[in-house]
């Protein structure tokens, strides 16, 4: 998916809420910036365990 298609796909997630062209442009910039943030965080966190929570037996610390 190219960048334009990716952005168009993301904007469908707004579920029909309409914005002015200027607002849509600002929102689009933020969405693109988030894609950059996610890519950096993926690299940063790639060796980190997936988070899950388990209750511990009585008297044992989580």
């Amino acid at each position: 998916m190219n960048d334009q298609d990716e952005l168009a796909h993301r904007l469908t997630l707004l579920q029909g809420v309409e914005f002015s062209p200027a607002d849509l442009e600002a929102i689009g910039h933020e969405i693109v910036d988030n894609l950059r943030v996610v890519a950096e965080l993926e690299e940063f966190a790639k060796d980190t365990a997936w988070i899950s929570h388990q209750a511990q037996p009585a008297g044992k610390r989580a």
Partner: protein, 471 residues
């Protein structure tokens, strides 16, 4: 006692005066309401005043105290709360047009506990809409102005609470923090702002910003006041899934200014981009800790350079989850900047949110390891003093969403990780604007944070400075 004299008393002193019946709760309330009338046209710190209800509560408090039924340090004290907290029968807007006429049937847990302690809730403070912002310029009810300079922002999102305490409109106010919404406005307004460990104060009955980062917090002029204000509102509440099982709160009783041997960590790399006046004040503050027998420890936690972007992605996605139904129905009733932010959050996918949580976990583990060798992390609360109001939401120029040693990482990691944090005044810049320092502890080291902050205040008098506006 003259109104101006009553208003000069901090919580500790006013509490004593009311308990000793040297000042009545009604006198204290009328003094506060008079100050609101005199200043709030300039500050815009309040959305709603509940004068009639407060007068009835004050009279009741006076009768109870006269009858020997004193409930404790908040009994008869005029208190304000951020307009995110529900108050039965009293307008609760969240700073939004959407709730401009909403009068909840129930009290929030915070309001319940304050009433049980005998506090007199007199007003609801202004904020960024639903807590989405760091400036208090994003309210449907207009921006909050900083009492130290009316052309500056108060910081947000709890700007009304911070401005009220700075302007001596009551000795304390309660707010909330999702990213930095207690510590930042406290720093900009020259007051003490404390947010405890995640789950210490129930959030039941309050609008949510981002559920995994939302905290309730408190503003006052002294750390002792903070401890007195924290005790009655802390405690387990089954209605808040994040609430923590805890023993009876006794932060005030356990306050101890002897911090000899305390290890204070300093992240030097994050000081590079800090304004020179802020940096100078911070280094002077560290000297106060050294003189008190603390050990200053230089530390480096490189993972923290990812904190602001991780926190921002997390809160953006969660706020979209919280707002999505209202947003579909009322998108154009939101403050435009907030609406755009929620739209951006709605475009974050589940897998991207989970990536942020994985990053958050890595940062948490790194910070936990750092606390094995120290008790407190100290840093300037913000890299700069309160920015001009004219700069609007762009005013908080130290906010960053890039991997960097930017100060905004240090502002955001405590809420993201649920750690206790206190901002307290440590100086004024050449323009007379307040500078703040934040002290951050490990999870549940709330008492240690308060002790360190109290030790600093016992050796300095920055907390006694006040804006020219209040004379």
């Amino acid at each position: 006692m003259a109104d101006a004299t009553i208003l000069e008393n901090n919580l500790t002193d006013l509490s004593w005066l009311i308990a000793a019946r040297k000042v009545s709760a009604l006198e204290a309330l009328e003094a506060v309401l008079g100050r609101v009338r005199a200043l709030d046209d300039k500050l815009n710190a309040f959305i709603t005043l509940c004068e009639d209800e407060a007068r009835a509560d004050a009279k009741r408090a006076d009768q109870e105290i006269a009858a020997g039924n004193y409930r404790g340090p908040l009994h008869g004290i005029p208190v304000s709360i951020k307009d995110l907290f529900e108050t039965a029968g009293v307008l609760t807007t969240g700073g939004s047009k959407i709730f401009k006429d909403w009068r909840p049937e129930r009290d929030s847990a915070l309001a319940e506990k304050l009433r049980a302690a005998g506090a007199v809730i007199f007003g609801k403070t202004n904020l960024d809409e639903f807590g989405h912002g760091g400036t208090s310029t994003l309210s449907h009810y207009g921006p909050v102005h900083n009492p130290w300079n009316l052309e500056r922002i108060a910081g947000g999102s709890s700007g009304g609470s911070a401005a009220a305490v700075a302007a001596r409109i009551g000795p304390l106010s309660y707010g909330t923090e999702t990213g930095s919404s207690v510590r930042r406005p406290a720093s900009y307004c020259g007051v003490v702002g404390f947010k405890p460990t995640f789950g210490i104060i129930s959030r039941h009955g309050s609008f949510r910003g981002a559920w995994s980062q939302d905290h309730a917090g408190v503003f006052a002029r002294t750390v002792k006041d903070i401890a007195l204000a924290l005790d009655p509102v802390a405690g387990y509440d089954a209605r808040d899934p994040a609430s923590v099982q805890q023993s009876a709160p006794a932060y005030a009783e356990r306050l101890n200014e002897n911090v000899k041997g305390l290890r204070v960590g300093v992240l030097r790399k994050f000081l590079d981009g800090v304004d020179p006046a802020v940096r100078e004040a911070f280094l002077a503050a560290l000297k106060v800790f050294t003189d008190a027998g603390c050990k200053i420890v230089d530390i480096d936690v490189p993972e923290l350079s990812y904190a602001a972007m991780t926190s921002a992605l997390t809160s953006s996605a969660e706020s979209a989850g919280i707002n999505r139904i209202w947003f579909r129905q009322h998108a154009h009733d939101y403050v435009p900047h907030v609406a755009r932010g929620i739209a951006v959050g709605m475009a974050i996918t589940a897998s991207e949110y989970l990536t942020a949580q994985r990053a958050r976990h890595r940062i948490r583990e790194a910070v936990k390891a750092a606390y094995e060798n120290l008790e407190i992390i100290a840093a300037p609360t913000t890299a700069r003093v309160a920015p001009p109001l004219a700069n609007g939401v762009q005013g908080n120029g130290d906010d960053s969403r890039h991997v960097s040693y930017n100060q905004s990482n240090l502002l955001r990691f405590p809420s993201m990780l649920g750690l206790p944090g206190c901002s307290l005044p440590i100086g004024l810049n050449p323009d007379g604007l307040p500078i703040g320092m934040q002290l951050i502890g490990a999870s549940f080291a709330d008492q240690t944070v308060l002790n360190a902050a109290a030790a600093f205040q016992s050796a300095t008098d920055w907390h006694n400075r006040k804006p020219a506006l209040v004379g």
